[in-house]
Every structure is written in C-alpha cells, then in structure tokens.
C-alpha cells in the first residue's frame, strides 16, 4: 500500500483527521538549522526531519522515541542549556538550540533569572484535579457544574489526555459519547471546561509531589511558578504508561510503544514508519495497526503470544479485511538493524509459551510496535499515603477505593487508567462519580448530585457486565472498600 507523505514524514492527507499546522519555526539542532511548525513539540519536529536517534547511553547505544506522552525518558535533550527536557512535551520555539544527550548530562551553571527565581504562589481550592485526560476532565466539569471551585492541572500544553489521538469511534451508548471519535469527545470536553468560570486550568504544569497535610506542589513551565495547593478534594487522573517487553534489540530506535506511534501519527500527523510489525493483539495493538493503514503505512503482521486475540473481535476483523495477518501463539524473538530497526524475527510458541525452534520467520520492517499492556501511574497516590494493592488484572499497583472512587485517604480520589487499566468511557463515568462525590463532601448530600451519582454507578456496573470484561471485574473486587475510613473489602 502506498504512503501519502511527500518529502518528509508529515501526513498531508488523512481520511479522518485534518492537521492544522502553525507557521514554520526555525530552530537549531546540534548547530544545524531545522524547521518545524508552531504547535509541534521539539521531538516531533526532529522526527519529521528524519531524526530517529533521540539520545545515547553512556556506552553509546542509541535511543529512539518510545512513549511520546511525557512518561518515559527516551526523548530527554538539552534545550537552551537545560538538560533532561522532555522534548515530547516542549513546543518548538524560534531560535532554540537543541542537543542530544549521551549518558547522564551535567547540571548546568545557573545563567538566567528564570531558572533561579520561580514565583511562588499559594492556592486554595475545593477540588484539585491532576490530569487533563477523560477522567480528569469529567471530574472537573461535574464538580464545577455544582458550583465548586476547581483547579485542573495538566502536564501537556493541551487538554484531552490520550483522547486527542483516538480516531476510532467509541463504543457505549449515545448519551455517553458512544459513536463519537475520541478526539471529538476531547473537543466537547475542552470547550465546556474553558467556558466554565469555576474551573482554572493550568497546562504545562507538573504535579511534582504531595506533602504533609496533603499539600500538593505544582511546577508550571508556562509561567515559571511554583504553586502550593491546599485542596479539600484531590482527584488523581494521572493515567498510565506503556509496558515494555524484553527481547534482543528492544532498544533500537524504531521499537516504539504503540501508543507512542499513535501520538506521532494522529496527534501530530507524521507517519511513524512505513512497514510495521505490531506485538500484541489487544485493543491497542489492533486499533493502532488499523490507524496505521489509514495513515498510509503497511502493517506486515500482528503477533500475539496468547492462543487468541486479546481485543474485541470487531477490531481484529477491521484489520484482517485489508489483509493484515494476526499470528496468535507467536512472539518476537529479536529485532535487528544497523543503528535502527531494519527487521524482526518472530517465532511460534508452544502451549507453555516456549519458542519452537525452526519456526522462526524474518519480517523486514522499520517500526516495531510494542502493544503489551499499560501500567497505572500511581506514584503521587503512594506519596499521599493511600493504601495500594498489587492487582495484575488492573495492570499493577492500584489504590483501594470505594465505589465512588475515593481512596483510603478521605478526599483523595482516583479515576481512569490510574485506578486500573480500562478505557476512556469508563474513565469519564468514574470522573463524574468522583466529581459528584466531591460535591457531596463540600456541600452535603445534595439530592440531585446523589441521584446523578447513583445513575452513573449503575451504568458502570451494567457496562462492566460483559463476559469479555470478566478480568476487570475480578480485579475490581480486590480493591473495592466500603468506606475511605476502612480498608476492609
């Protein structure tokens, strides 16, 4: 299948998306002038210019893009003298000077005012929401609708979390955004959030720690300000990060998280590769592979170590129709290439997941996508003293919580993937439930809020009844508690 790109990796024509690029921006990459577009991140501008290597280890092993959403460390670079800048989160600006790092960088000497004199502000609010993805947006909006003062913090420079790169139409019911594409849902939420006078939005701001008396520290790159926030309620909507897989060559540039490739492709409009091998036939692997076809790439195969497809059949059927094989009971043996991915060897496995010698097959490709699950991001919660549990069905370490998504620390809530890996629709409903509970904590048991909350609790129960979601149900049983004051289950 032919690609649609001309001269660089940018996609100029897409069946679903329209990429609105800003004015060209000239910047310097290792003293060479380069061009990006306003609104792009540094990492994206570099990738568009054909830069696959984002850093090197001390020993000189190259590192490429992996997560592209500010969770991993593969895109750390030196920008205007400051090391360890997450270039996947920092927009490209005229005249900036960007250098790659080799091993650990040295701490720079302090040279300018902005690095030394961050303004400090103390803020009080009814609700602090950490994370501007579907769960966080829903929580913020619901609390604000009932008149609560909300501070919404997001590390990225835009809202929507991973909804912004979802181009497929969501399942669910019509009144809960079913049938709409993920990025369209993000647009609906963003508009409502921006219009609501009770919500203050801080983008490009990192919640870096939770301290004594649940004081939250925020560092804003946008206005060089450190905020100390005292909130009556904290809603954590910190999302998740992509899992890695151990195999020879897994650190070659061109081995990427499937979600990372989806960001490059759907959020910024670059073709992340031309010939692709996907590892993992869960929903993420299936959906991203389909979207790669839509963007004009060629997906060689999807390998899945389990005896069956992990995701929904309909997502698998969508990609099978265009001739992409899904190889169950297959895994990746190694990825090879000179400095970047040139191909991969896959192998069949037996009933005990052991590779069967002699069944190896080479696949030429320039991109290997790792789609082997996600891990909830719960570091801040652990700092808050929340009781956690290791629940493999939910993706790892997750907090105990009530059916209203309140943790063992009263007033601290958890929603979305950070509470256990599910999907955007359930994140939104959890956000509403948590948001409504903050309302009852601040204003008392308002009838409308309580009734609305019960409606959403019922909806979630119904939604999760599907036989194919039994794993999630099992996981949730392990973390459900009666009240935030007890960790009894």
């Amino acid at each position: 299948m032919p690609r649609y790109t001309k001269k660089d990796r940018r996609i100029w024509k897409h069946p679903i998306l329209e990429f609105k690029r800003g004015a060209p921006v000239k910047f310097y990459f290792e003293d060479k002038e380069m061009e990006g577009f306003e609104g792009e991140t540094i990492a994206i501008a570099l990738y568009a210019n054909g830069i696959d290597v984002f850093s090197w280890t001390e020993e000189g092993r190259a590192r490429g893009a992996f997560c592209m959403i500010g969770k991993c460390s593969s895109c750390f670079m030196i920008v205007d003298g400051i090391p360890n800048v997450r270039t996947c989160r920092e927009t490209v600006k005229p005249g900036i000077r960007v250098y790659r790092q080799r091993g650990l960088p040295t701490v720079p000497e302090i040279t300018s005012k902005s690095e030394t004199h961050a303004t400090q502000k103390e803020v009080e609010t009814d609700v602090l929401v950490i994370g501007g993805g579907p769960g966080g947006l829903a929580a913020a909006l619901k609390a604000a609708e009932y008149g609560l003062k909300v501070l919404l913090v997001e590390d990225h420079y835009k809202l929507g979390g991973q909804l912004v790169k979802q181009t497929h139409k969501f399942f669910g019911s019509k009144d809960l955004f079913g049938g709409q594409r993920g990025f369209q849902i993000a647009e609906i939420f963003e508009k409502k959030i921006r219009e609501n006078p009770n919500i203050t939005v801080l983008t490009e701001t990192l919640a870096y720690g939770i301290f004594r008396d649940l004081l939250v520290g925020l560092a804003s790159r946008k206005d060089d300000t450190i905020y100390k926030v005292k909130a009556q309620n904290i809603v954590m909507a910190t999302g998740a990060h992509e899992n890695y897989l151990a195999f020879p060559g897994n650190d070659l540039p061109g081995v990427m998280g499937a979600g990372g490739a989806q960001t490059i492709m759907n959020e910024y409009g670059l073709l992340p590769g031309e010939n692709i091998l996907t590892i993992g036939a869960g929903n993420v692997g299936l959906i991203v592979s389909y979207q790669l076809l839509q963007a004009g790439a060629n997906v060689k195969a999807i390998v899945e170590i389990m005896p069956q497809i992990g995701g929904w059949f309909v997502h698998a059927a969508k990609i099978r129709r265009y001739g992409v094989p899904i190889l169950t009971r297959h895994t990746i043996k190694e990825v090879w290439g000179n400095g970047k991915v040139e191909g991969a060897t896959i192998v069949k496995v037996d009933e005990k997941w052991t590779p069967i010698p002699g069944t190896e097959r080479d696949i030429e490709c320039d991109l290997v996508l790792v789609a082997v699950g996600l891990t909830p991001d719960t570091m801040l919660l652990a700092q808050a003293g929340v009781k956690m549990a290791w629940v493999p069905e939910l993706g790892g370490l997750v907090p105990l919580r009530t059916k209203y998504n309140e943790t063992t620390v009263p007033g601290v809530f958890i929603v979305g993937d950070a509470s256990g890996i599910e999907e955007a629709t359930t994140a939104i409903v959890e956000g509403w439930i948590a948001g409504l509970t903050t309302v009852t904590r601040v204003k008392g048991e308002i009838k409308a809020a309580v009734e609305e909350r019960e409606k959403y609790v019922k909806y979630l129960e119904e939604y999760r009844k599907s036989p194919l979601l039994s794993r999630t149900r099992e996981g949730l049983k392990k973390v459900l508690i009666e009240s935030p004051h007890t960790s009894e289950r």
Partner: protein
C-alpha cells in the same frame, strides 16, 4: 481449553456457521427479497449505537451488553447503521437483482470512491475477489458506506473495498 475458543477469536474471521449460531444471519429468503443488514457482532460489547441509529426501529438489544437483534422484516436495508456502527461490523446485503448482488461496506480510507468507479473487492481475510462497480456512496462522521456490485457467489464474502491509488498522487 483451546478447543473452546471460537475460531473468530483466533484468526479475526467469522464464519457463516458462527453468524448463524449467534442468530446474526438473515434467512436466505429475506436476502432474496431485498437489502437487509447483517451485524457481524458476535461479542457482548457494551455498545448500543446501532439501536439508536436505525430509523426503522429494527434493531433492539435487551441491555447494552447483549448482541444486537435485527428484525429482518422491519429492516429496510437503508445502510445508515453501516456508517454509524463504531465497530464497523454491520453490512447490508441485497440478493434481489437477478444477475448480481449488492453489498454495502464501511470505508474509512482515502481515496473515497465515487459512484461508477470500479473498486477492488476484499474478503474478510483481505483476499482480492475481483472488482466491482460502486453504485452508492454516503458518509456519516467520516465513515463512508459504499455499495458495490458483487458476483452473486461472493455476496456473503465481500466485506471491504479497496481503491487503488493513482501514481500521480504520490
């Protein structure tokens, strides 16, 4: 254990036998009378978009996690569900023309075919089954429902189309 896994969960391709088993296949007699929707949706996905989508009220569901039930008599084959189903899992098949069949499939790729174009016909596993003429195209939220003429023997096999890109566009 593995013998209990339906084959569509292993290879991503559903068989007519399985469609029949799940009550998703309209009777032959109904297909011969005119266009009718077939939801190739054998799993209990929490989704009921098709129920709201159908202007004839022909699709029902006991609860959001049940399979769609299409009332073949109420269904007019209008194809609205083809472009609205989030799983791109609904197709419309019409066996009423004497010398050919008409199949309506979802399409989310560029270029978008125009009426009269000859496009490549693809099976559930991406096998090329020759070419067919496009007789109708319409769109809902960027999903196109494309109706193509298909040899009668391929009516239950063609489930996608592909439009060859012209070299000059590259």
């Amino acid at each position: 254990m593995s013998s209990e896994i339906p084959s569509f969960r292993v290879n991503g391709i559903i068989t007519l036998e399985d469609l029949k088993k799940y009550g998703l296949l309209p009777p032959e007699e109904r297909l011969k009378r005119g266009p009718v929707a077939i939801a190739e949706c054998p799993e209990k996905i929490p989704c009921n978009i098709c129920v709201d989508a159908c202007p004839s009220g022909a699709i029902s569901m006991e609860s959001i996690i049940e399979l769609p039930v299409i009332d073949w008599e109420k269904c007019t084959g209008c194809s609205l569900c083809v472009s609205l189903c989030p799983g791109l899992a609904i197709f419309v098949v019409d066996l009423s023309p004497p010398d050919k069949a008409l199949v309506t499939v979802p399409h989310e790729f560029i270029p978008v075919p125009q009426r009269g174009d000859e496009v490549i016909l693809l099976s559930r596993e991406g096998k090329r089954l020759g070419k067919g003429k496009v007789v109708r195209v319409y769109e809902r939220n960027k999903t196109y429902a494309v109706t193509v003429e298909v040899p009668k023997e391929y009516a239950m096999e063609v489930r996608a189309i592909w439009v060859e890109k012209e070299e000059k566009n590259q």
